[in-house]
Symmetry: C2
Subunit: 202 residues, 2 copies
């Protein structure tokens, strides 16, 4: 079996992506961290619950700083999140032992989303295959699979369980700006506070 390295936030989409690949690839879950907040802990715990190997990918904090500049200029995070995702995917793809990278992006996602040209550029430049297992699935198909294969649990062991890019981006902005400015760009609804485990089937 080939190894597939799946970018993993601990959320339902990246969990399901790993489960869909599991029968066909040796799975390694990878959560990026920029050294601002240890926001990988929730993902680490989810990965353990799901029974997958997991590691933290140290990414250059300059990526996060540039993304923050983008978000503050734009007044919203979409472009910044797209930029972070592309750079994290690139950081992972550059590793010499990596030949397959994957993530939990769905057909109907707007952010993060790479253009076809960026996808082909990463594949060609770094000699990897970039797989999006959920890219051919719409919302209802994803939700049905989540219901069948995952159980959502409240996470009590870590204060914030989300390993989404927003966590560190928000933390970096908080260190540099006012609470009102932070709240304007990062609505609180983006925060997750749960982890996923597997539903056991007979």
């Amino acid at each position: 079996m080939q190894k597939a390295s799946v970018l993993f936030s601990g959320g339902k989409d990246s969990s399901l992506a790993a489960i869909l690949l599991e029968p066909f690839y040796e799975i390694e879950l990878v959560t990026c961290n920029f050294g601002v907040v240890e926001s990988f802990q929730g993902a680490q715990e989810s990965a353990a619950q799901l029974g997958f190997k997991h590691r933290v990918l140290a990414c250059d904090v300059q990526i996060l700083e540039h993304a923050l500049d983008m978000a503050m200029n734009d007044g919203f995070v979409n472009n910044a999140i797209n930029y972070i995702h592309k750079e994290v995917l690139t950081t992972l793809s550059k590793e010499s032992s990596i030949s397959i990278v994957a993530d939990g992006i769905r057909r109907d996602d707007r952010v993060p989303m790479l253009t076809p040209a960026k996808v082909q550029s990463i594949e060609a430049k770094y000699g990897v295959a970039y797989i999006r297992p959920l890219f051919g699935y719409g919302r209802s198909a994803v939700n049905s699979l989540v219901d069948q294969y995952l159980v959502c649990e409240e996470n009590e062991s870590t204060k914030s369980s989300s390993s989404d890019y927003e966590v560190e981006l928000r933390a970096l902005m908080r260190a540099r700006s006012t609470d009102d400015a932070v709240a304007a760009i990062f609505p609180e609804k983006h925060i997750q506070s749960h982890i996923f485990t597997r539903k056991r089937h007979e």
Copy 2:
């Protein structure tokens, strides 16, 4: 497990699509036929080799006739093939017992390919989920999986093994037009003459 009905030509893409869905859905392979040529025989045989349930979906010959008009007007088959695929997907989605339809379309395919608007329209109109298991896979990832899971064999039992839309479209045109006109629109390279079976893993 939910049932997924996978449009199946007998080719490597739709075979692989079924294999990727198999751990998560009860698979039924479906090959369309317009009553012009019994071109489903190759797909039927491939399905048996792969160990999947299979049935033939009788589709209205008017779809094929309209597609032929399109191809003859255009001078090439791309739009006609897209039209046929959309109509076949619609015919399947209209069946009352169907809730999940799927096919073997890949990320880099040009034909057949439905626009996002058509995908959402079919899902909304007929209450189905349309899944494209290979839509998040590029060429190299698909080829690796095919190498690992499928064996390509020459098909000796039927003269033409392909159940692609082109077979019946070409046959319909042959009945109405000259050989030269047929050859101009349907280059022979589109013909397949093999079936796929599973590679056995230890």
